[in-house]
């Protein structure tokens, strides 16, 4: 079965909703002088397991489904939803959503474009059912005992495993009739290491739009365990981080959270339509050093940030944001694309049926450059080499962004020397991007752990980059 058939069977059949009903409901929405509207049906099954103190203490299962109704009139959006997928609730939501319209002309619902079957980027098998619960528990126990054997200084291990299986159906007045079946798995290992009186913690994990087999393939789960142990032990020896502006070398992969904060959010279509971003109106201008080419790519198979179609039914794509330092484009959903006179880039995303779609990132990364990573480190006389980060955030209007390193080292005379404690790095997006003076040839994407928050909505995303050298970034350490 393709995604549309699966969605129809899962979302419409149980409540006896027919496509004629949907057409009628959409017609009712448009009948009230609304430019366009859509219905977003969603069903999410989710499970999680947590191991701590050597035992699997908790298992949780949740089931959520509902339908969101959106009505658009010019720049206005009316929105309502129901957690009952039944006709009367749907009609009630339509009545609420359409009270946005004051003016506008009556429009017809376009015939649904059903020929467009998009090749899925991931399996339509449910991760929840692919493995028996007992086997999931065994997996957690194996990871626990493996982790504890890694080093006697490991005093606590927490392993968490989660799987999500989501089915969505989007029908829109513009002829959209699309579905997507989305698996998502995640495994995380957190450890506490203790040496005399000093304790440190570290976490490592990964996942993607696939099934739990992913974690046993290539020993991935044990790889996360080793990485968490390695980081915690390194941090036991960390000295105070320096404070002040200095050269910073960022490692490949997850440190790409830099791009997500410094550039990505500021290039989202809504902010640029409204002129509230530091990047507003700057298409064609130089906004980064010529070494920088940055893309957002939602089409990479099985990646955490990927989507076959976005939450408005638009197929995802690879969008060039910055090419050789020149700003090329923004990330668009349907509403903002229409208002800016461009096409949607397939970046219309929402947390769930109870949230309004917005332009959001998928997998955002920088393309590789000419330098060997060793060469980049060797070029730095004094600075910081940061390879792992917690989270970050940005003020898209002023361009100020922060991200917090939790594994970093001093670079002295071209060599990595001592580990330093975690510190927050701060800069201004457009300034910092101009100060990227070397780009490595070692592009890597993150392991599949990113969560992006915007206006209270959380969604899974990916980031990536090669090793980068940035001259003059402020490091928030404690040592003068």
């Amino acid at each position: 079965m393709n995604a549309i058939d699966l969605a129809r069977a899962q979302l419409l059949a149980p409540s006896g909703l027919s496509e004629i009903d949907l057409e009628r409901v959409l017609g009712q929405l448009l009948g009230h002088r609304i430019d366009s509207g859509d219905l977003y049906f969603q069903s999410v099954r989710q499970e999680s397991f947590m191991l701590e103190d050597g035992i699997v203490k908790e298992g949780n299962f949740s089931l959520d489904h509902g339908v969101g109704v959106r009505a658009i009139s010019g720049e206005k959006t009316g929105f309502a939803y129901s957690d009952d997928i039944i006709l009367p609730a749907l009609i009630q939501a339509v009545d609420a959503a359409k009270c946005i319209a004051e003016t506008g002309k009556t429009q017809a619902v376009r015939a649904w474009d059903r020929k467009r079957l998009i090749t899925p980027l991931y399996t339509c098998k449910s991760p929840l059912e692919g493995l028996a619960t007992a086997d999931k528990i065994t997996l957690l126990r194996e990871i626990d005992s493996y982790t504890r054997k890694c080093d006697p200084r490991i005093t606590q291990v927490v392993v968490s495993l989660s799987g999500v299986f989501e089915t969505i159906l989007i029908v829109g007045s513009d002829g959209t009739f699309q579905a997507d079946v989305r698996p998502l798995v995640r495994l995380n290992v957190t450890v506490i290491a203790q040496s005399q009186e000093r304790r440190e913690t570290a976490s490592s994990g990964g996942g993607g739009r696939t099934t739990y087999d992913y974690f046993t393939e290539n020993d991935r789960a044990f790889g996360y365990a080793r990485d968490a142990v390695r980081q915690a032990l390194i941090n036991l020896d960390a000295i105070e981080a320096p404070a002040g502006a200095m050269t910073v070398v960022l490692g490949p992969g997850w440190p790409g959270v830099l791009l997500h904060e410094a550039v990505g959010h500021g290039l989202e279509g809504d902010f640029n339509r409204k002129g509230s971003s530091t990047f507003s109106g700057r298409i064609g201008e130089r906004v980064a050093s010529p070494l920088c080419t940055i893309v957002d790519d939602g089409t990479i198979p099985e990646r955490r940030g990927s989507l076959t179609v976005d939450d408005e039914g638009t197929p995802t794509q690879r969008t060039i944001l910055i090419e050789n330092g020149i700003l090329k484009g923004y990330l668009q959903d349907k509403l903002n694309a229409k208002l800016m006179g461009v096409a949607s880039t397939g970046n219309g995303r929402r947390q769930s049926y109870s949230h309004i779609p917005m332009p959001r990132m998928t997998n955002t990364f920088m393309l590789p450059g000419p330098h060997l990573p060793e060469e980049i480190i060797a070029s730095v006389e004094k600075g910081i080499y940061a390879v792992n980060f917690g989270g970050g955030s940005v003020d898209i209007t002023s361009g100020k962004f922060v991200f917090s390193a939790n594994e970093a080292y001093l670079i002295e005379n071209g060599k990595i020397t001592r580990p330093v404690k975690g510190a927050t790095l701060i800069g201004n997006g457009p300034d910092v991007m101009q100060k990227i003076v070397m780009v490595g040839n070692d592009l890597a994407l993150d392991e599949g752990i990113g969560v992006c928050g915007k206006e209270g909505q959380s969604i899974p995303v990916g980031v990536g980059q090669p090793t980068l050298r940035i001259d003059d970034l402020t490091v928030g350490g404690t040592k003068n």
């Binding site: 701590e52 699997v56 203490k57 298992g59 949780n60 299962f61 949740s62 089931l63 959520d64 489904h65 509902g66 720049e75 206005k76 959006t77 929105f79 309502a80 939803y81 129901s82 957690d83 009630q92 609420a96 009270c99 946005i100 004051e102 619960t133 528990i137 005093t155 606590q156 506490i192 203790q194 304790r199 440190e200 913690t201 981080a241 404070a243 002040g244 502006a245 509230s276 109870s354 309004i356 917690g390 970050g392 209007t397 002023s398 100020k400 962004f401 922060v402 917090s404 404690k421 975690g422 510190a423 927050t424 701060i426 201004n428 402020t474 490091v475 928030g476 404690t478 040592k479 003068n480």
Partner: protein
């Protein structure tokens, strides 16, 4: 456009039905073999209206409900939740939880709170004041607010809009000891965010007002004007050279310092040994003038509740007395795990206060004389295992006790132990919009990283 909220609470919150659903779910759990069970249900309705550049931008109707169960089969635990509270659905949810409990492993500390600790009285706390707000009135209010901001100064060049929100919720918790607690709450707010611009670039800031009672919201025009003023004040900010200096955390963000402390003395972190305040009971952590206390039964308080997340009776408590840690923050599980007395804090603290000093903000600035007055923090940079603190900051440079110019793009860092110990004064400019209420806090020294 002249429609009232299409779904009113009396229709949505069928109190009797929700209480019955919880009781029914507990009975199903027992029938299916659970030794113990607990169920939480929350249902809410709300309206959000956003206006931008004098026109409606979004009109959003919220209506949510969710029910969750935790079952214990012996000492093993399983849980499940769903948004569908039909009979079939709650039965499947119980089955799912029991199936999980059969497979998870026995935890000797798992289980409900002791019967003797449960709340016996549902004290009325004045938390529910629904706002009969018509959509068009909400729009007018938001427009008034934004207009005040946009017309405040010609340097206010753009708007992120003004938003009026109202929400009502109903909470039920029951467990197989026979406890059944329930209460409705309301929450109303008005916020505004605008962008100021000068030759050095754009800055945005916001202001908001929040109350359980609509009539206690601050004036819309005042909120708009303050949001404009806050954005304007940030224009042409400078970096500061890297240095050690005293700082003041504005009351609006100082609650974050206290919530970090609360988190660090919480049971979950204590038994996992993931806190720098391990074994801190009886230890002098703050200067002796610091007293931190919880008042769960404050009328209309943001954290007010008669029972905690385990159904346990909440009581007045002192967490810090004369600077010394007097009590941890424990739930049924963490108390058993640590071999201590339950403090009725499953789910956190319920209204936290700190004794304030005589100075208002101006007085604090004078007391600091020279330093950084911080009005915004960015990023997560707090490691509770080690107490290391490093965050992005923006605010104002202070000299001779007066604001000199705005500051941005700097970080401040220290260890939380030092920060707590070196609190010099707490202002009386208390921000009442949070369940953790404090005035501005002056700290003797932080490491500032800048240019």
């Amino acid at each position: 456009m002249s429609r009232a909220l299409p779904v009113q609470l009396p229709e949505l919150v069928d109190e009797h039905r929700y209480q019955q659903t919880v009781t029914k779910m507990l009975a199903i759990a027992k029938e299916l073999g659970a030794t113990q069970a607990e169920v939480g249900l929350q249902s809410s309705v709300g309206l959000n209206v956003s206006v931008r550049k004098a026109d409606v931008e979004t009109l959003e109707f919220n209506r949510d409900k969710a029910i969750g169960i935790t079952v214990y089969c012996g000492q093993s635990k399983g849980s499940s939740s769903t948004t569908d509270i039909s009979d079939d659905s709650i039965r499947s949810a119980v089955e799912a939880a029991i199936n999980l409990a059969k497979l998870t492993e026995a935890d000797p500390f798992a289980g409900l709170a002791e019967s003797k600790d449960l709340a016996t009285e549902l004290i009325p706390l004045d938390l529910y004041h629904p706002w009969d707000l018509a959509v068009e009135d909400a729009i007018e209010l938001a427009k008034q607010c934004e207009k005040a901001a946009l017309s405040f100064d010609r340097k206010i060049v753009n708007s992120e809009g003004a938003t009026v929100s109202t929400a009502q919720a109903y909470h039920v918790y029951g467990n197989s000891h026979g406890f059944l607690g329930f209460y409705p709450t309301s929450r109303h707010s008005l916020s505004c965010s605008v962008i100021a611009q000068d030759q050095n670039g754009m800055e945005r800031d916001y202001q908001y007002t929040l109350s359980r009672k609509a009539e206690e919201l601050e004036d819309a025009t005042k909120i708009g004007q303050e949001s404009a003023k806050r954005s304007l004040d940030r224009l042409s900010a400078k970096k500061l050279p890297t240095q050690r200096l005293p700082v003041i955390f504005d009351a609006t963000i100082a609650s974050g310092i206290l919530s970090t402390f609360i988190n660090a003395i919480s049971g979950g972190r204590l038994f996992r040994k993931t806190t720098f305040l391990l074994d801190s009971l009886g230890e002098q952590i703050f200067p002796s003038f610091v007293n931190l206390y919880e008042r769960p039964h404050l009328l209309s308080g943001w954290g007010s509740t008669a029972f905690d997340g385990d159904g346990v009776k909440t009581t007045d408590k002192d967490f810090v007395k004369n600077g010394v840690v007097n009590s941890y923050i424990l739930s049924a599980y963490t108390a058993r795990k640590l071999g201590m007395q339950n403090t009725g804090n499953a789910g956190g603290v319920h209204n936290l206060f700190i004794d304030t000093g005589k100075d208002d903000l101006k007085g604090l600035l004078r007391k600091m004389d020279r330093g950084l007055y911080i009005t915004e923090l960015m990023g997560q940079g707090i490691n509770l295992v080690t107490g290391d603190y490093s965050r992005g900051a923006a605010g104002f440079y202070i000299e001779n006790g007066e604001i000199q110019y705005p500051v941005h793009e700097v970080t401040i860092a220290n260890n939380l132990r030092n920060m707590f110990k070196n609190i010099v004064a707490v202002g009386n400019d208390v921000d009442r919009r949070s369940s953790i209420q404090t005035g501005s806090i002056l700290i003797e020294e932080m490491m500032l990283a800048g240019s």
